[in-house]
Each structure stands twice: as structure tokens, then as C-alpha cells.
Symmetry: C2
């Protein structure tokens, strides 16, 4: 059986061919990046399949949609996801991305909703061995987002052009990924991953809320599991120069050790990374 | 003859039905807001049609694409635009929006490029009579963008989710439109329009470059024409509280007087607005 690279399912229609177009020129997701998404990991094997932290991802997607004033029907989404997982023929790891847009500007009030299931990119396996990272300014102060809901801090909207540009700039600078820093000098998050670091025998991640940082389902699950295993955990802020050991974490990439930060080599403990990855379900 | 509301033309294919889908689930314009656009005004009548400042808009589109590391073939775009204008059956004002995305993630290197021609929304005629405006923080300092190309300051990318959210918040606050202010208190631009103001017998607009403000083709054309007619002009920064008479300007809306700013009534001189609109070609 051929391994699929992508499966596409459209709300109201079900599974369609991956290369079948279904979005029109006036769709506000396309013309304005005006929509929300979320991404979770599917692990499929002969004896069944499993979605990591499905409830947490669906709850975050619902919060994103509420913040962007978009409808989100959890029952319809659950049915579409179940349908897609049943139809997915791939084995091993895949990414389920769920997307809803404000829909065609010519037909107001009709959201465009769909999902993709995509086989894991081999490059992710390399990332899990270690990533070199460079810091790039995000331009915002670390406590900017407290009372400015229109800036969509922490909302997973489709408008990721700056995130994509930052990743391209990091690659051009000879690193694997970018790490955003606030205008007042604090490490925030990577374009598509959360930051974790170890300091004073405590496992930390950046705090969400006023920082505008996306609430990482993977980092939260990892910290919860670590805490349940007796590890001290915390949420705070740190300056990049103070990081001696760190990881980037996401639902797809898992827990990737940072090998170098702005050219400075960080401590890498493969056993610890392995234990953290296991705690996060990887 | 029925007046069209929208015409769609796709690069490599030509004119298609407006409701024909041609974008797939993995298109990076759709999933990441990763692409560029520009918009210009088409005025069509029985004796022919005209695109305002076509060369200026195409040059800006080329600059946006270069900054986002996307290809832009001016000859192919000119041909597609000519084809669309020839096929357009509408009369009066319309908007030509040109769009290119990084294309389907499943097929790297193939940009998705298309344009739409859309009849003028009647709401624009109301805007031209006057708009109430509220200021909303943009979160960035006014001189942030000097050396941070990954933040895409002044680049017309598809990722307008914050702009759209700001406009919705302005409407919810009882105003017609938002005006972004920098974290250090300067008026910047509206979500889809430039700011102009009169002070000391000089017509001003906000400066581009380090402010990250989009270079407005309409504001530049207006200032050039005003200067050629003996009006003093300038580019600078102003705090909202210091604005006593102002306008929002864009290629589609033309020159719209600001009737109120954060609830404070501004001076409105209909004769001056009429002269400025004429200088801008409206």
C-alpha cells in the first residue's frame, strides 16, 4: 500500500483529493490571513491511531476562534477529524492541521473550514537531534498584550507571514530556526515552537498572557508530566544570554534540544532530552 | 447588461468564474498568510477605462515581493491585468487586487498568482463623506523597523489579521475605522489607509521607512500634486491629540475626511477635501 503524503477533508463535504481546489479568490483566509488554525500530532499504527492532547488542542482552537470572532462547532470538528483519521492510510507520525477562515468576502457569513493530515517531514527527525537557533527581535515589549485584543496575542491566526520570514532569515543566517526576543530583551518563542529551559534545577517555559506568546499544548503537557514526576517547574521570562540549556517544543517537532544560541554552544544532555520527550509523549 | 460584482483572473489560465475554486488546502497564502498583494482603482466608462497610478502600484508590488522573497514577473502581470480589464463589464469605479502566494506547500516553488476586479462597495461613498476614527495601539515603537526585515515593515503581505481585527474593534467601539498609534504615542496609519493631516498651512503624511508604515501610492500622488500646485507638504509624525484636521486616504477609498478622532470633533472643510480628492485623481 502506498503511503499517503496528505489527506484533505472539507467541512460539509468530507474527504477530497489533496490537489482539489476548494478555496475561491475572495476567501478572507487567503486575501487577509483572516482565520484560525491549530495543529496536533497523529500517531498511526496497525493496531490503531492516537491524537496527542486532542482535547487541549481543540480547546485552544475554540479560544482562538472566539478571540477572532469566528464560529467553531466542536461536534462538527470532532466528526470531521474522526472521518479523516479513519480514512488516513499512513503509518507513523503525521500532523493534523485544522483551519477555519472568515470565508469568501463575496458570501459573508460562510466560513471555510477544512483539515489536512500530512506525513511527518523527515527534517523533523533531524530537528529532534538538535537545533541551532538565532535570536530575532519581535518588536513588541514583553508585557505588551495585556489590554490590546486586536493585536491577537496568543491567538493562533493564519497570518504567519512574519513567522515564516523569521524562519527564512534564521536559515539565511546559518541557523536552523529563529527565537523571537521582545524589545526589552526577553526570549519569547520560536516562529512555530515554544521555548523551554533548565535553570536552578527547574524546568521553565515562557509565560503566556501579557507576553502574547501562544499557549503551547506540548510545553504545558510536558511541564505537567514533569511536575507529576517530582521535577520543579516554572513559567517566567529569561534573557537569551542567561540560557545555558534549552529546548524548542511543538506538537509536531516534539522536544528539540538547542545546540547553539546566537553561535554560543549550549549544554546538551541527550538522556535528559530523551526523558523530557517521553514525558511529552514522544 | 448586468453589472458584474467580481471578475477573477488566474495567472497561466486567464479569466475564470468568480466562484470557481482554484486554491488548495496546502497553499501557503491560505495557511500562513504568506504572500503579497496590492490594490488599485479601475475607472471604467463607455469610452474606455483607466487604472490610477498603475506604474506606482506595480512597482510597490514588485518591492513587496522582493522583500518577501517571492518572484514577480511584471510582463506577465501586465498581460493578466490587461486581459482582466478588457473582460470587465462593470462601469464606474472598481478595485483591482493583485495577489501572489508562496503556493502549495506540497509543490514547492510554484507561486499561486491571481487578481480580482470588484465593483466599488457602496459603503466607500459614505466613507468619502467623513469617517469617525478611534486610535488603537499597534504595539511597535515608531522607529522600530529600521533593521528588522523579518518583521516585514512596509511590505504589503497577505497577513492582515491584526488589521482586520482592529477595524472590527473600531466598529464595535462605535467608530468607522481604527487609526494605529505607536507604543511611543505617534499616529501611524489606518488598517487599510494612510493618514494625512493639515498643520501650519502644510499638508502632511506619515513618514515610511523605520516606522514600518506602508508607502501609500495615493498619499504620495496627492502630496506630489499638491506640491506642484504650490501647497507646502511634508512627511513626519504627529500625536493624535495634536491633529485638528485630517484624512484617511487609499487607492479605493480616495480621500476621506476624519470627522472625529477618539470622540473629539475635527475640523472638516468640504471644499478643501474636494480639492485634495481632485488632486489625488478622485
Amino acid at each position: 500500500m502506498a503511503v499517503q503524503t496528505q489527506l484533505v477533508a472539507v467541512m460539509g463535504r468530507g474527504v477530497v483529493e489533496p490537489d482539489e481546489p476548494f478555496v475561491t479568490a475572495s476567501d478572507l483566509g487567503l486575501t487577509r490571513g483572516d482565520g484560525c488554525f491549530d495543529a496536533m500530532r497523529l500517531v498511526a499504527g496497525p493496531s490503531g491511531s492516537h491524537i496527542d492532547h486532542r482535547a487541549g488542542h481543540m480547546a485552544r482552537f475554540a479560544r482562538s476562534c472566539a478571540a477572532a470572532e469566528l464560529d467553531m462547532d466542536p461536534v462538527a470538528w470532532d466528526a470531521l477529524i474522526d472521518q479523516a483519521v479513519a480514512a488516513w492510510q499512513g503509518e507513523g507520525e503525521a500532523t493534523i492541521k485544522i483551519v477555519t477562515t472568515r470565508g469568501p468576502e463575496l458570501h459573508p457569513g460562510t466560513q471555510t473550514s477544512f483539515l489536512t493530515v500530512t506525513s511527518l517531514s523527515p527534517s523533523v527527525l533531524v530537528d529532534r537531534q538538535g537545533m541551532s537557533v538565532v535570536t530575532l527581535s519581535r518588536g513588541y515589549g514583553a508585557d505588551l498584550f495585556a489590554d490590546v485584543p486586536w493585536l491577537l496575542g496568543g491567538v493562533k491566526v493564519l497570518a504567519y507571514a512574519v513567522n515564516m520570514a523569521a524562519s527564512r532569515h534564521a536559515l539565511a543566517a546559518g541557523a536552523r530556526e529563529a527565537l523571537f526576543v521582545s524589545s526589552d530583551g526577553y526570549a519569547l518563542e520560536a516562529p512555530t515552537a515554544a521555548l523551554l529551559w533548565r535553570a536552578d534545577d527547574t524546568l521553565w517555559t515562557t509565560r503566556t498572557g501579557a507576553t502574547g506568546i501562544l499557549h503551547s499544548i506540548t510545553a504545558a503537557a510536558l511541564l505537567d508530566a514533569a511536575s507529576a514526576n517530582g521535577v520543579a517547574t516554572g513559567r517566567g521570562l529569561i534573557r537569551p544570554a542567561e540560557i545555558t540549556e534549552g529546548w524548542l517544543a511543538s506538537a509536531v517537532r516534539g522536544v528539540c534540544p538547542i545546540t547553539a544560541l546566537d553561535g554560543r554552544r549550549l549544554e546538551v544532555d541527550p538522556d535528559l532530552t530523551c526523558r523530557l520527550a517521553a514525558l511529552a509523549g514522544f
